[in-house]
């Protein structure tokens, strides 16, 4: 099997495995309120620090809450952060990138300088800065992470669009006197979406990572929420007595991140024209 074929096959396998696991986690997150064996927030002082057992798969925490139920419910936060922030950065970043590519001049200069400014702080610190002043909650974290990644989508979209605008088939459209909207819809977007989709896939991973890091630092959903980063942060002081309190959400987070990452890699190998050979059919 040649390299290209191998890449295709590996890509589709990564796509399938990653996709299945992500879909399973999404399904679990959706049905968790009915499916979870216990309440995610109810205290049971008699059962503090119970180790994993048949009744409590992942044990209980310092208030006697069932860690398994909390982890199940917590999946929603990670997914919301990952996909929500990605959606924000795509919805804002892609049009800005297109605008910058089409309107060379003032609009481009303004957008690109703003982008330069936003990437002149490392992501977590930009998130910290945005979240520092007002009381944190889930939605603010999602918006902050989304804003952090807007510049990346803007830059990518602009460079892809600029590259396409140089292509002869776009010149041909211009030679027909097509308007900007027609060129955008017919010539640019159909060719620009694969790299944008690939980047969006990557952004989901990074948004989950960044979002859970921010909640780990206390800048996400607040207790008694069962966001995984927050759960890990809270478990630190009991690491000797009840390691399962941190391990359960930690390993779940790892599983989700690995699955999303696999899915993204699979997408990349599928859609990246440099990786997939364009043979004659």
């Amino acid at each position: 099997m040649s390299g290209a074929a191998l890449g295709q096959w590996r890509g589709s396998r990564a796509l399938r495995i990653g996709g299945c696991v992500v879909a399973a986690i999404i399904a679990l997150a959706v049905i968790s309120p009915w499916f979870a064996p216990y309440s995610a927030v109810a205290f049971d002082v008699r059962l503090r620090f119970a180790p994993p057992s048949a009744a409590h798969f992942f044990g209980t925490d310092e208030f006697g809450r069932d860690v398994f139920s909390r982890v199940l419910v917590g999946a929603r936060y990670s997914l919301a952060m990952g996909f929500g922030a990605m959606a924000i950065s795509v919805i804002a970043g892609v049009p800005l990138g297109l605008l910058a590519a089409f309107h060379r001049g003032f609009a481009e200069a303004a957008i690109m300088r703003a982008v330069d400014l936003l990437i002149s702080l490392p992501p977590i610190l930009l998130g910290l800065l945005i979240l520092a002043v007002t009381p944190p909650n889930l939605w603010k974290t999602i918006v902050a992470v989304g804003i952090v990644y807007i510049p990346i989508l803007t830059r990518l979209t602009r460079s892809v669009a600029l590259g396409l605008l140089e292509e002869d088939f776009v010149q041909a459209a211009r030679a027909r006197g097509e308007g900007a909207v027609s060129i955008l819809a017919r010539e640019i977007l159909p060719n620009a979406w694969p790299p944008i989709i690939v980047e969006s896939g990557l952004r989901v991973t990074f948004a989950i990572l960044l979002g859970s890091s921010l909640s780990f630092l206390g800048l996400g959903p607040q207790p008694p929420s069962s966001e995984w980063g927050l759960m890990i942060a809270e478990s630190r002081q009991f690491i000797d007595r009840a390691p399962w309190m941190g391990l359960a959400p930690g390993l779940s987070l790892c599983a989700l991140l690995i699955a999303v990452n696999l899915f993204g890699e699979g997408l990349r190998e599928r859609l990246d024209p440099r990786l997939s050979g364009r043979g004659r059919a």
């Binding site: 610190l125 800065l129 979240l131 990572l209 930690g250 790892c254």
Partner: protein, 319 residues
């Protein structure tokens, strides 16, 4: 080249100025009165007024900004509210400790990352390359704070080999004690980034190895060692340097998290502390320092990129 240097320096000054406006604006304009943010929701109007007077919040924002900027340009980073001390020495001390952490990690990332990338590219498709790729995948996908928790669990809580958290200077604990506190945070910071750098170095190296001038170098009958290290690496490094500049930013973000986990008294911990304590002057000052450091790191990356790129060094063509 001279034009390039001047242009980049001017750009850095511009970014710092713009960032100072942005930081100032976020702290002062976002919903939530500063004094209330500091004192809490149930503060008495009298206390609020007193604090506003103390902070100079009664003056117009532009005046406040100019005052703050002028003070900063004179090296005065303001007063920490929660500790009631000048921010500059606090930040300087924390910065020194963070620099040790970051410096060690970054050096390791450069060496291991590029080394791993070259190894992967030259052993493409073999078992060792694929194993490396799998391990790298794990290190990239798993968040560093979780690695930190695992490291504390194994090496401190279970094996008792290393201290879980904290920091001791060489003066207090000797080189051994100092290193023992650094080992875990440096290791955790290094692993994820090394994986990132070596993956990109690998693909950059592979792309170079596919190029026609490498074919030509082999056709010249050069030994493979020369082909790799003189002809290929020289061209694969510039993209790797761009990645390293991005990773310097990720490293600075990682330091915030890792210092928090390991209770390491560095700049990242100080920033999180400032947020927790609503110590806004300290937060502003700390953010400006971080921005400046990151800008300088990017500047250095640009310059080394230019040094490795003959197109920027030697512009004129020869007739």
């Amino acid at each position: 080249m001279a034009g390039f240097v001047v242009r980049r320096l001017l750009a850095v000054v511009g970014v710092l100025l713009a960032m100072s406006v942005l930081i100032f604006a976020i702290v002062h304009i976002l919903p939530g009165n500063v004094a209330y943010a500091i004192l809490g929701e149930y503060a008495t109007p009298g206390a609020v007024a007193a604090l506003e007077a103390k902070l100079g919040l009664n003056e117009p924002l532009s005046v406040q900004y100019w005052h703050w900027l002028a003070q900063m340009l004179h090296g005065n980073l303001g007063q920490s509210l929660s500790m009631d001390r000048p921010a500059a020495p606090l930040i300087a001390g924390a910065l020194g400790r963070s620099a040790i952490l970051a410096g060690m990690s970054f050096a390791l990332v450069v060496v291991l990352g590029i080394g791993g990338g070259v190894y992967g590219a030259t052993h493409k498709g073999r078992v060792s390359d694929r194993t490396l790729a799998f391990v790298q995948f794990l290190f990239i996908a798993v968040p560093d704070f979780f690695w930190a928790i695992l490291a504390i669990l194994f090496f401190a809580a279970w094996l008792h080999w290393l201290p879980a958290t904290g920091y001791e200077s060489i003066a207090e604990a000797g080189v051994g004690g100092w290193l023992a506190h650094l080992l875990l945070p440096v290791a955790v910071l290094t692993l994820g980034l090394t994986a990132h750098v070596s993956r990109l170095a690998r693909s950059s190296m592979l792309e170079v190895l596919e190029s026609r001038y490498i074919l030509a170098a082999r056709a010249k009958g050069l030994p493979e060692r020369l082909v790799l290290y003189r002809h290929a690496l020289r061209n694969a490094l510039p993209p790797a340097i761009t990645v390293l500049a991005i990773d310097a930013g990720i490293l600075m973000g990682g330091i915030v998290v890792i210092e928090t986990v390991f209770a390491y008294p560095g700049l990242g911990r100080l920033l999180v502390y400032a947020i927790e304590q609503r110590d806004l002057p300290l937060l502003q000052a700390g953010m400006m320092v971080v921005t400046a450091i990151y800008a300088i790191a990017n500047l250095l990356a640009d310059f080394s990129y230019a040094l490795l790129n003959p197109r920027l060094r030697h512009g004129r063509s020869i007739r």
